[in-house]
Symmetry: C2
Subunit: 328 residues, 2 copies
């Protein structure tokens, strides 16, 4: 990672969950970090996420939909970590157009900006396992068909393919990581529309009842955010990643009840209960999912290192300390 | 097809190539046909395409991007054949935003309109083999991964998946046909940015030299438009098609030199020549492609019936008669 020292790095969605953790790692590595974020209230951006490194990064408040600003901001960057997105599956069904503008149009315009104004830049895109939809087989590898179950999955699929296309056609150095359930410090905890894991952790810390939909046996793979940050850094510095898509994946699949039980060990005051699926969630649910991450392991040497128990403990510790920044 | 008699049918892109041929078949079957088209000059809409059935159809000039008009026009329809699209691969690279607006946003808004104002309607969507990109194997079946080589392919992929999603989540009765090289009467012949086949036919009729890119051995499957119309009608009336995607495919793969030789037999004054690929075309070219169409054959009983020789003769006959309507 030495080659990141002194390099100019832009992170879109840089005040968000993964963006801010990535910023911290990049600052430690000696990079010149510019964080671009729109701070849309219900999304993940939060200035408190970077409170401890505020003097060591530059912040530019701008929306990735703001084409002219982005045209300017990409210039001179050595690396772009492209993490800005609408990430709520439910919101994408309520308002498919906003999801389209952010996850499709803005991706196109970012790539056009780089093609015209900074063709040498390396771009790493945050894609998602949501693009696979309900798995045909497990674990899911990159040869699995894409058949997403919600608008967000479709638009992220297009967003990812624009990145690959701009590599294949224009020679831009792009790579895409298909993230699974990422968790850890600095995640949005204000509402439960960005996935279950943050919400479960919040309820556990507050000693409340965790409601699990269905039979609770849905398998997932969890990635602690530090592992995910490591994958982004590797994809950035390694040329073998160019034009490639990679699954990330967790150390071992766990089901939702197992996650609740782990949280109960850490926060004994909480409890859990199985409840029926709400209809709007059931109809876009993907059932069991866990990834085969052999491709990134073999190509870049990445693998997850932090077990769910350990990661959940660290996460609970963090929020117990900084709860006031995240709960409302 | 008897059940189409007296039914209300809307065709988006209804003045275009496939739309106008479909309109003719539907009028014969006794349907009440409404043609919606924007008549964008460089696209395929042409009022002369429906000159002979003009008194038997209704025409509404509107752009599929015009959400409010579409909200109103979908109401009361029994069937929607959704053919409006930006179809030029080259144009999608020059202006990715227009392609996005037409092939993604407008598809979403049409589906939202149907969900809210006409949830009983049956929709058949015109997708494209372009979404497969460069084939991993031949013939390409519907299990083949989608990895498009141009912006149009990515956006059409998203457009198709919105249709499937609205079936899976909201119960809309939708089906998608992945068209291959369709040719025949009423195709756009003004320029060569909508695929090679119409352009080859035009050059043949004018006794000019057909320029073939590369070694001319690229395989394609050709579908005569009457066969394609038949597939649309079957997908519309058959409930087994709901929520499904189907490849169409030609009677036999032919390479570009073979197509040129067939045209030379029909129009002896023409000739052909191999020339190097222009760079903007080479970088989005898909190489050999032909489809496996077993799924639609087994499910709906469709198969192509018109051989290239026969189809090309009919097409040349048509344009020799109506050339003045199409050449400029």
């Amino acid at each position: 990672m030495e080659e990141l020292r002194g390099k100019k790095v832009l992170i879109t969605g840089g005040l968000g969950f993964i963006g801010s953790n990535l910023a911290r790692a990049l600052v430690e590595l000696g990079a010149e970090v510019l964080l671009v974020d729109s701070l849309i209230p219900d999304y993940g951006g939060n200035l408190l996420n970077i409170q401890d490194i505020r003097e060591r990064v530059r912040i530019n408040i701008a929306d990735i939909r703001d084409k002219h600003s982005m045209d300017w901001l990409v210039q001179g960057q050595d690396y772009i970590f492209n993490l800005a997105g609408q990430v709520s599956h439910l919101d994408s069904m309520q308002d498919p157009y906003t999801d389209l503008e952010i996850n499709c149009r803005s991706q196109l315009s970012l790539l056009e900006a780089c093609r015209h104004h900074n063709p040498e830049v390396k771009i790493v895109y945050a894609s998602t396992r949501q693009i696979y939809g309900i798995p045909d087989y497990l674990p899911v590898d990159e040869k699995h068909l894409l058949h997403p179950t919600d608008v967000n999955g479709i638009n992220k699929m297009a967003g990812e393919w624009y990145h690959i296309l701009y590599h294949n056609v224009y020679g831009l150095r792009t790579a895409s990581l298909r993230l699974t359930n990422t968790y850890g410090p600095r995640q949005l905890m204000k509402h439960n529309r960005q996935g279950f894991i943050g919400w479960f952790i919040r309820l556990a810390i507050d000693g409340q009842e965790i409601q699990i939909y269905g039979d609770g046996k849905q398998k997932r793979d969890l990635n602690y955010v530090d592992d995910v940050v490591q994958a982004f850094l590797l994809a950035a510095v390694r040329e073998e990643a160019n034009g490639q898509v990679f699954n990330l994946g967790g150390p071992e699949p766990v089901n939702l009840i197992e996650i609740a039980l782990l949280l109960k060990e850490i926060c004994p005051a909480c409890s859990y209960k199985l409840v029926p699926f709400p209809n709007d969630i059931k109809r876009i649910d993907i059932g069991d999912y866990y990834a085969d991450y052999k491709k990134i392991k073999n190509t870049l040497g990445w693998e997850p290192t932090i077990a769910p128990r350990q990661g959940l403990e660290r996460t609970v510790d963090y929020y117990q300390q900084y709860k006031e920044y995240y709960w409302s």
